[in-house]
Subunit: 348 residues, 2 copies
């Protein structure tokens, strides 16, 4: 949808660990850039879990989400222990966020990568697979987890990938499965891929086995374009791509459903550095940039993206990427945020 001149209210989860710090940084940049948004906080994460709500999200928050339909979410800490389900998965599944879109392109030479040409979008199925969360203990010593794949699930994500490729002028969609072993489940994903690929003759398509496919991604990511795959493979591949492209700490992602969309960093809550004010807000900021494009504020999104790129090109780097490329100045979260804000309006 396009609502450029209409303020969109965003449900904002400030998260745990470094969450609140990077959320503050991100919202400050959005505000300075003139993003036309309002925010409403939602209560999710550690506090909610520990107050006895094992879903990690309050009833009130569900209401805020269904009213606003757009969420910006910082990383959450799910407490250890069998009683606690991952909030990421709860949100993705409850809200039908079937598509997890994770773009990564090289920041060479400003942040080091062996692959200056890489520019990949991983489109990860987000509701099914082993993430369906169906596990049981059969005997004391035997446990099982069900990998669930459905035709409608495959169709939705594969079609999304081809539509995405068309919309963003991408040349090729690669499917990753292990259907030489999982003939029914991964076989279904592959079959649906071939069916739908045939409808998009303007876009090149191919399929790879996940083992050698992941190896090829790790060794020559510049040969890939859009990748569509199931939940767990997408989880692994997107982290690989983000890390070899510069840093897993810099990638943002969109979780998109029919009615609701949620935007986040792909990294975790990094409790070890929480409160130290050194965290890199780039992952969440890139999530927010995807969000702005989604709500029809693509111009603001581009403005922020350019300011962020200019900051990196000026060598202004947080500790996690400092001296991992052409760094000139090591900055903390606040200084990085200010540097981005100062560069709003500049193009790299």
């Amino acid at each position: 949808y396009k609502r450029i001149n209409q303020a969109t209210t965003i449900a904002v989860a400030e998260g745990d660990g470094i969450g609140p710090e990077i959320m503050r940084a991100t919202l400050n940049i959005l505000k300075a850039a003139g993003a036309n948004i309002k925010t409403e906080p939602i209560e999710v994460g550690q506090q909610v879990y520990l107050s006895g709500n094992s879903s990690g999200i309050t009833e009130e928050s569900w209401k805020t989400i269904s009213k606003n339909k757009v969420i910006l979410k910082a990383p959450i800490t799910t407490p250890q222990g069998k009683g606690y389900k991952s909030l990421n998965v709860t949100l993705r599944k409850s809200l039908g966020l079937f598509s997890n879109v994770r773009p990564v392109s090289s920041l060479h030479p400003y942040v080091h990568t062996n692959f200056p040409e890489m520019d990949i979008v991983v489109i990860r199925e987000n509701e099914e697979d082993l993430y369906a969360g169906i596990e049981h203990r059969q005997t004391e010593d035997v446990v099982q987890c069900l990998k669930l794949i459905t035709r409608p699930g495959c169709e939705k994500i594969v079609r999304y990938a081809f539509e995405y490729a068309r919309a963003y002028n991408r040349k090729k969609v690669t499917c990753m499965v292990k259907d030489n072993i999982m003939k029914l489940t991964d076989g279904l994903f592959h079959t649906v891929f071939k069916e739908i690929a045939a409808e998009y003759s303007d876009i090149e398509s191919n399929a790879q086995i996940i083992d050698i496919g992941s190896a090829k991604i790790a060794a020559s990511p510049e040969n890939f374009d859009v990748i569509v795959t199931s939940n767990l493979y997408g989880d692994i591949i997107s982290d690989i791509v983000a890390e070899i492209g510069g840093s897993v700490g810099m990638a943002g992602s969109a979780n998109v459903g029919k009615n609701v969309a949620m935007f986040e960093a792909i990294h975790g809550s990094a409790p070890d550095i929480a409160g130290k004010k050194i965290a890199n807000p780039s992952g969440l900021l890139n999530g927010a940039i995807l969000m702005l494009a989604h709500i029809g504020q693509a111009e603001v999104a581009d403005k922020i993206k350019n300011a962020w790129l200019t900051t990196l090109e000026d060598g202004i780097h947080t500790a996690d990427v400092y001296q991992k490329g052409k760094s000139t100045k090591k900055v903390n979260t606040e200084e990085f945020t200010e540097a981005v804000i100062e560069r709003l309006g500049q193009t790299p």
Copy 2:
């Protein structure tokens, strides 16, 4: 076991695609090096499948295997289609080959890698997980695959990894799981890992989540030593490691059980280049080197390994790695084989 002065009879499967070519090359090198082995052929693979035996292996071959207990196997082509089960999986499961050992170390600068220091052994559980092959179609549109993890299975592989680390003077064992999502199945693997790690206080140990863990492997493999993980993760990780270390075409692997062991290349049968006589026999040769060490002929194994390394260092490279490093001469399978044989007795 050690049987240095006693000829061991090996069950040899020449495989499909490039299989026969690289097997011939490998056996020629073993013979020239003075390996004290006899061979007995077994019938496995495409011909057997297509003759109507959907297991891909004849009764006669099972007998040869149970008599000899050591198998050298070239890559197999499993025909497409639901009726055909992967022969690799059939052999691994039927023979209880619970441990799949895949060592990869850098061949820098003779074969290009971004990671000159890498030296990793992936120890992959080989009987359980999604490879148990339990799949079913629940409705027309819903298919499922069961991921099976057992405590004895975890114990066997984790203990194997620590014993391996001790035997080969390795410093650290890293466990890879996704137990933030699969709390029961991957949780059990992780629990057993912690229990057994506590018995090996001489060896460092840690655990990583498979998504970020794979990303760290792809970005800085030199920080890893021994990796122990479940079947599917190990499949993916070992291909990544082999490919970024030089080429997936160069790595060999040992499939080890209580009574039987099977040695192979980790790559496939490459039907596209079959018969062209250009295939690189290095993967299978490295499998055979592991085999010789296993049957107590470590000296011959070292002699072959050194000749192979010297060949690569002399820049004598097959097409797949030619000009991917310090190549001086592009050779075919036979020339490569002769070059290795000529260098027997030399050390790199």
